[in-house]
Amino acid sequence: MQLTRGRFLRAGLLAAAALAVAGWIYESRPDEPLPDPRYRFGFLDDEDRAIVAAVAPVMLAGALAGPGDVELVVRGLDRAVCGLPLAVRSELRYLFGLLRFAPARMLVAGVWAPWSRADRAQVERFLSGWRNSGIAQLRSAYDALHQLTFAAWYGGERSWPAIGYPGPPRIRA
């Protein structure tokens, strides 16, 4: 589906309004307990993780090697965000706040079902739409998801065999 510039301009105005509301909603939410015993998430909570888990299989289509890989990406992405300065983290908090706010998810991202049940084709259209948007902020939001997702996957050994990367070389004593 080709998205017109006009439609994205309207979406941009909606996004601005949605961001304000989403920001407020996020502030007023109590922190949720982290259920996973093995890894302590430092940034992503359950709802954020559902977003990453919906985006990763589309971003990394043709690259993910097995069923547990999405969870690896979710954790790798969380770890990557925790290494970023506080000001960048709060920008990302804003982005996740927008994406988890249902009206914004539907109107700005065009994803109708909740992220945990999101249709792959809709997620792909969402990513393509933001990637090619006439609004620089949406392109850079796509780019942030792109960079974090690919860094999370290709930083780990599981991704290397498929791309012929042997890993770090041996050092001569």
Binding site: R139, D143, P169
Partner: protein
């Protein structure tokens, strides 16, 4: 003495003759020169102290640990990604070891436009020789890796001259992981040369410590307030370090130094601090070859071409320098455009992938005024660098040049890093498509590993922040020794220029301080 500020349990006050903010090319070189002169030096570094045994050649560790903003620092509009070090040794710990002198044409422009009369090749030559010898800088004598060889081969086929890159290495094993910290101590970075030497002479190094502001009194800097970071190296902790010194040297890099002066409220009657910041905005062209390239392996940079800068007049279209980047999985996958099957198909051929980069020579033309450093609400710096149409046109032209070189070297396909590009299989097809690419931020990948300017030196107080010796105007006892004093970009990788100019300015400062 070495102090990790994240382990402090109370505030700390330090005194010395000279306090140096930053431990990269400027701070490291200054520390050696000043401590050699018998001066007591205190070094303040925001990043952590890491060494060869910590360098595991893993991107997932190196980028968050050794780089500003996990190697993903962005300009204000997110249009340019900046690679900049943040560890003891600064960018010298993670750079690709390229060590080129300041081009003669750049120095001539500085003399002509900024009144920097003693910035001549002849007057700087002894300083270049001194630091080249100190850091074992010699032209790379081994064969280039295939990534670099392709640049040389393709250029030669088109009659474009290339040269061998001098590198600051000793006993290099040709591994290719300079960007993640040298695991064998072969790279002669500040981490293994000048800083250990200064420490042996009694210098004090405080790591994980963010210089917040200078306190001025009666036209002098009185003390430096430093915030100790928590063990995560990011979050400000509860303790302060106060540094009192006769003289303060700012070497926090061309984003960090102007930001520190802005936070300190330094006198700036002509609002010049942080202005004219340059990046060498860089375009990337990737290509797939039939035979393996393995751009992850071997000295990252050993061949360059100045064909498109050397002798190219400043008043015409922007010139660009050609080099190649190393490519490891994360760097490649995040820079690569597209997602899903398209992205995976390229990555599947990663070991056959080659890349050329073109670095724009910014700052030499009225339509290339660079960027401006300002402060975010939390006091951390932000570089606003709008890309002018003049610079965009250079980026576009460079994509054509790079594609032509890659096809001339036998590329099966060429993919310029732009969201609207796809792999092209002939030069004619690539050239036509590149002509039509929309030159807009975030569609076109623009990178930078060289931050320069923001505290421009010069003769005219209205247009310069520092004098020709790096002295900060309007303050008696502050010097700027880093790439922020450059009044334009260099058209060369900056480390060697910073070393040589800092050595000259630090020797002059040392004799002044010893005399008083």
């Amino acid at each position: 003495m070495i102090q990790d500020a994240s382990r402090l349990t109370q505030d700390l006050t330090l005194e010395g003759d000279v306090a140096i903010v930053g431990t990269g090319a400027g701070g490291g070189m200054a520390a050696e020169v000043l401590s050699q002169a018998g001066l007591r030096v205190v070094l303040i570094e925001e990043g952590a102290l890491r060494s060869a045994r910590d360098f595991h050649m893993l991107e997932r560790e190196a980028y968050p640990d050794l780089y500003q903003e996990s190697a993903a620092r962005k300009t204000a509009d997110k249009g340019i990604t900046i690679l900049q070090g943040r560890t003891v040794g600064g960018s010298t710990t993670v750079n690709w070891a390229t060590s080129l002198r300041t081009p003669a044409q750049t120095l001539a422009y500085w003399r002509d436009r900024f009144g920097l009369r003693d910035y001549t090749e002849a007057q700087l030559a002894p300083w270049f020789e001194r630091v080249e010898s100190r850091l074992h800088i010699t032209p790379w004598s081994e064969p280039p890796n295939e990534n670099n060889a392709i640049l040389r081969r393709g250029a030669a086929a088109l009659g474009i001259q290339t040269s061998v890159i001098p590198r600051n290495v000793k006993g290099c094993q040709n591994l290719g992981y300079c960007g993640m910290g040298c695991p064998t101590n072969a790279k002669q970075s500040m981490l293994v040369t000048t800083i250990p030497q200064a420490l042996r002479r009694g210098a004090v190094l405080v790591s994980r410590a963010r210089a917040e502001r200078l306190i001025f009194r009666n036209g002098r800097a009185h003390e430096l307030i430093v915030r100790a970071l928590l063990p995560d190296g990011i979050t400000p902790g509860p303790h302060n370090v106060t540094v009192r010194a006769r003289h303060f040297v700012l070497s926090a890099g061309a984003i960090g130094t102007p930001a520190l002066l802005l936070r300190s409220g330094a006198a700036d009657p002509y609002r010049s601090i942080g202005r004219r910041t340059f990046l060498h905005p860089t375009a990337v062209s990737t290509a797939i070859f039939r035979d393996p390239v393995r751009a992850d392996s071997g000295a990252p940079q050993s061949v360059y071409s100045d064909h498109f800068v050397d002798g190219v007049p400043f008043n015409g279209p922007i010139g660009y320098k050609l080099e190649v980047p190393p490519m490891h999985p994360v760097l490649m996958a995040t820079a690569l455009v597209g997602f899903g099957a398209e992205h995976a198909a390229f990555m599947a051929r990663a070991s056959h992938a080659q890349a050329v980069i073109a670095l724009m020579r910014d700052g030499f033309h009225e339509q290339s005024a660079g960027g401006t450093v300002r402060l975010k609400s939390d006091g951390t710096p932000l570089l606003d660098y709008p890309i002018s149409s003049y610079v965009w046109e250079g980026l576009r032209r460079s994509l054509v040049t790079m594609a032509q070189i890659q096809f001339a070297a036998g590329a099966l396909s060429v993919l310029p890093l732009h969201e609207s590009a796809r792999p092209f299989t002939t030069f004619a097809e690539a050239r036509a498509a590149i002509a039509a690419l929309p030159m807009e931020i975030v569609r076109m990948r623009v990178m930078s590993a060289h931050v320069m300017g923001g505290c421009s030196m010069g003769e005219d107080e209205k247009t310069s922040v520092t004098d020709g010796r790096g002295g900060l105007r309007n303050v008696e006892n502050v010097s700027v020794f880093d790439g922020s004093v450059f009044p334009t970009s260099l058209a060369a990788n900056p480390q060697l220029s910073i070393y040589a100019m800092t050595a000259r300015n630090a020797v002059a400062l040392a004799s002044r301080l010893r005399a008083s």
